[in-house]
Assembly symmetry: C2
């Protein structure tokens, strides 16, 4: 019989990787336009701290599917956040939230 | 002695709620502008399916911190996604990714 928890763990890890990759279009847009004026640094700051805490928690739980999910989430969000910080530092107008 | 896993569980649940709320500025922007042309429905579609799978997995794991995190994440993402679908259906130009 198929173990539902293990099946969902694989599916969750797979979706976690996709969710991390889902940040790439946003990051590409910022780097192409060299502008992040419509993107919220507060939102991405919260997401980065959140994924970091969830990653630590997943490591403590020793759950591979959750570690993968939160690692890819953190990488994706940091990619966007570094674009925001980079083009904000260059003095291009940035609206906050 | 403080149980590190329990402490991180509380912190993770709290950050999970904040991460869900982090979608609100994006949703507000769509509903105010009545436009979602720069927002990717593919990104939010992937996030919605991902949070749904992670929510099912958290329920199977019976982990309250993860259930809270993925429930608020799903609600936040669905809020943005319904804005995208609503203003796309009204025939306002929408660029995809």
């Amino acid at each position: 019989m198929i173990d539902l928890t293990q099946l969902l763990a694989v599916l969750a890890g797979f979706m976690g990787i996709l969710m991390g990759f889902a940040n790439i279009p946003q990051a590409v847009k910022i780097y192409k336009k060299r502008s992040a004026k419509d993107v919220s640094e507060l939102t991405y700051g919260v997401l980065a701290v959140g994924y970091f805490v969830l990653l630590l928690y997943s490591i403590l739980l020793d759950n591979v599917a959750l570690i993968v999910t939160n690692l890819f989430g953190l990488l994706g969000v940091v990619l966007v956040l570094s674009g925001i910080i980079r083009y904000e530092k260059k003095g291009i107008r940035h609206r906050g939230i």
